[in-house]
Each structure stands twice: as C-alpha cells, then as structure tokens.
C-alpha cells in the first residue's frame, strides 16, 4: 500500500515521473507476479511485463483511489492471463496446464514447512492446487488485497459466489494441510 500519498504519486507517475512510477511498480509488481504464479506460472514474468505496458499506456486515463487502482491493475492482469491461455490453447505444440503450478515442483511437505515459515513460492504452489476459481478468488483477496465486491466484478461473478469460492478454498487447504501432518504438537 502506498497510502495517503497515493493520489500525488499516481498523478506524478501519470505525468511520466520515474520515481513515482517506481513506487507504484514496487508496490504491485510482487503481487502481480504472485498472482501469475498461481494463474499462469509458466508465463508469470511475461504477463507481468505485459500488464505494466497496459498500465503505462492507460495511466493518464485512470481516475480513482488506491483500491480502485489496484483493482484496475489486476483487471488488466487477468485479461493478460485469459489472453495468454487463449493463445496457449491455439498453440498445438505446447500443452500447458491452465493451473500449472500444481504440476510443478510441489513442496514435499507443506504442513511441515508451515511450521518453519513457508516460502512464498511453496505457499503459492499450494494455493495453485485448488480448483482454479477458488485459487484465483483467494489470491485476488489475499495477495491483490481486493475486497469481495471488487473481486466479484473482476471475476465476473456475484459477491456471494466469491464468498463461497474463498470459503471452500480455505477449507480445502485446511483439509490438505491437516492430512499432510495429522499429528501436530503445539503450533
């Protein structure tokens, strides 16, 4: 979060100021990468670049506060994901899973890792094992930091649906992590 400075930072960044833009980038780039790590891990870096291109090109037109800005950036990000998946689907030679991290190296024992401080990457990999809608809803809520209403708009679903998706996702994570280490001492 940039906070009270946001309005000024946005206006200066929109005018091409690199330092101000750098603050926006610094705040959102890790979140974007983490979102892509769940949504389209094979292309996370590229999709982040494409998203920033869209942001840069639309920056002077954007109006709104910081939560609205985040929602706007992640709207662009989500379009990049959908676009990328469409293109990937047309590439016959490549066959990338839509929810790819589940097929990448999963943590050996996520529950055990949790005790020692789970790495961000392993945590995202765990989230990515959820059904795609659940994973996306959780990441948009947690990592992007968007509220239910904005996530609903972004995903084109009703707020109640988003609530159900996140609820089920959390529950499923609890089941998975619980099964992975049924015997547990003090946490």
């Amino acid at each position: 979060m940039i906070g009270p400075d946001f309005e000024a930072v946005l206006a200066t960044a929109a005018a091409g100021d690199e330092q101000a833009f750098g603050r926006l980038w610094h705040d959102l780039q890790p979140r974007l990468l983490r979102y892509f790590m769940v949504a389209s891990p094979a292309a996370a870096e590229d999709l982040a670049s494409e998203t920033w291109l869209g942001v840069i090109r639309g920056l002077h037109r954007f109006q709104g506060n910081e939560p609205a800005f985040r929602a706007w950036v992640f709207t662009i990000a989500r379009h990049e994901v959908l676009d990328w998946r469409r293109r990937a689907a047309r590439r016959a030679t490549e066959d990338l899973p839509a929810n790819g991290l589940s097929e990448q190296a999963a943590p050996d024992d996520p529950a055990a890792d949790a005790l020692e401080g789970l790495s961000t990457r392993a945590a995202l990999a765990e989230v990515a094992t959820l059904p795609p809608d659940q994973a996306e809803a959780i990441v948009l809520r947690v990592v992007a930091g968007l509220d239910v209403q904005r996530v609903a708009e972004l995903m084109g679903k009703r707020p109640g649906t988003v609530r159900v998706l996140t609820h089920r996702g959390l529950r499923r994570l609890a089941e998975r992590l619980g099964t992975a280490a049924p015997v547990r001492g003090a946490v």
């Binding site: 780039q29 870096e45 609530r163």
Partner: protein
C-alpha cells in the same frame, strides 16, 4: 448421478457454512474474512486453520529481491511510451498478425499477376519465400502442370525451372484446429511446409481470390485438395474463414487497383502491392520485450 464433488453447492455444504459446530473445520463468514485479510495470526486461528493462516501469510511475505528485479525494464517501458506513444505495445503485439496479412496481400498480388499473364514478370524476383511456395502451388494447379510452363516466367518461381514442384500431397489430419495460427512464426521465417500451414496458404489464396473470376481457375484444381480438407467444395469458404478470420475480415478493405498498368482483365482489381501491409512489423527481428 454422483457427479457432485466437494466443490459443488450442495445443500449440506451450505448448511455447514452457516452452522459452525457440526463440523471440525467449519468456518463462519467473519473468520473467513479475517483469514483472508491477514487479521488472524496462526496462533489465533480456529482449530485446523493455523497452517492455513501461516500459508496465507507466506503469500504476502515481503518481496524478495528477484521479484523486484524488473524495475529498470519497466522504467524503460515507461520512457518509451511517454516519449514515443506511437510505438505502442499493441503495435508490437500485432506485429505477427500484420506480417501474416502482408503475406496474404502478396498472395493476392501473385494471383492477380497470374491471371493477367504478363504482369507476372513485375512481381518476379523479390517474392518472399512463403509466397513463392504459394505461387508454385497455384501454378501447379492453374497451369495444370509444372512451373516453367508458359503461365509464368521462371523468375517468379525463384529460379527453379524444371523442378517438379508438386504440391505437398495433402493436408494432414490436423487441418482445422490449433496449428494454423501457431505456425505463423515459422512460416514467416521462411520455413517448412507443414500440412497445416499448407492448408492455411491455400485458404489464404482462396480467400483472396474467391468470388472473382480467378477463383474459378483456382478452385478447379489446387483447391480440390482444400475442398477435401474442408469436407466438400461448398464448405471451403466457411472453413477458410474460420481458419483465417483476419484475412476473411480484412479482405474487402484490401482490394486495390495496382498503381501500374500491367494488369488486364480479370483479377486486376485484387492485386495490391505487397507493401501495403505495414512495414513496421518487418524490421524488428529481436523482440524488444522487457527483460525477464
């Protein structure tokens, strides 16, 4: 039907959502919200959710250096866009498509040139490889024989007089689906004949020429192959339009009378110079995409 998995909105699940207590992992809405917003530390989380709270906390851990490695590239993009709005990301992204369209235009030119006989010489000598391929295939079918016959001078054929230049024996089983657009980059690089790109080429020439007199000649022979792929002569148009939506759409706008006076008779109206496709796409060989 037991198709409903644990993720479906079955009534028991909804009940569980609203009545915690019956289920050790039950969550109320407020707890969900507090978990999602990081308001619950692992040790504060309800039974069974400590690991979940820790996992969610890990997803919003402070950025690692590698996550912030691309800032210079992003700033470079900012500079580029701020200073030269014309060189937009969209232009870069559509580069591939405009290249495809340009090749398509060249095909139109070849078709028109063939139809008007003498004009062929004008087009000879500087055709890109893929177009030469198409020209060859069209010649094979239109002329009913090999290149090097009187239909066109050898220059058009990339100086390969006497080669048999038979069209590839037929489209493969993967005619319609994915490979069409995916094969664009390799084809643009002047490379090989896959069955799919062959079909695409035939389609391109077909779309370029169809509803003109030239098309009748084209349809007659070479496009029998295409008709076989499409599942019948009457299905070729729809098939090609689906395979190459861009060409199908942009066709109307691209029909121009060539500036020269070589052409005569049928087909003349179709040939635009191949350069009208926009040359900005041709020059940038290495991608100027930001570093990864």
């Amino acid at each position: 039907m037991t198709a409903m998995g644990p993720d479906d909105a079955s009534p028991p699940d909804m009940r569980r959502f609203s009545t915690p207590g019956a289920d050790p992992l039950a969550l109320d809405e407020d707890t969900v919200e507090r978990l999602l917003t990081g308001d619950l530390q692992p040790h504060q989380a309800p039974a069974g959710y400590a690991e979940v709270a820790a996992l969610l906390a890990a997803t919003v851990a402070p950025p690692r250096p590698e996550e912030l490695a691309g800032q210079a590239a992003a700033l470079a993009e900012l500079r580029a866009v701020t200073r030269a709005p014309a060189v937009s990301a969209r232009a870069r992204r559509t580069r591939r498509r405009s290249r495809r369209q340009r090749v398509g235009l060249a095909v139109v030119a070849v078709a028109a040139a063939l139809a008007s006989g003498g004009a062929a010489a004008a087009a000879g000598g500087h055709l890109p490889g893929p177009v030469r391929e198409v020209a060859r295939n069209i010649l094979v079918s239109v002329g009913g024989g090999e290149p090097g016959t009187s239909v066109a001078p050898p220059a058009l054929l990339g100086a390969r007089p006497g080669t048999t230049a038979a069209a590839p024996s037929g489209p493969g089983p993967t005619g319609l689906a994915g490979p069409a657009s995916g094969s664009a980059p390799t084809r643009a690089a002047g490379a090989p004949d896959t069955a799919a790109s062959e079909t695409e080429r035939l389609c391109r020439a077909y779309l370029a020429a169809q509803d003109k007199a030239t098309a009748r000649k084209l349809r007659a022979a070479s496009f029998k192959q295409l008709a076989d792929t499409a599942g019948g002569a009457d299905k070729v148009l729809a098939y090609c339009q689906e395979l190459l939506p861009d060409e199908a759409k942009s066709k109307e706008g691209k029909q121009k009378t060539p500036p020269d006076d070589h052409g005569q008779g049928q087909g003349q109206g179709q040939g635009g110079p191949p350069t009208t496709g926009g040359d900005h796409g041709r020059t940038g060989s290495p991608s100027t995409r930001t570093s990864r």
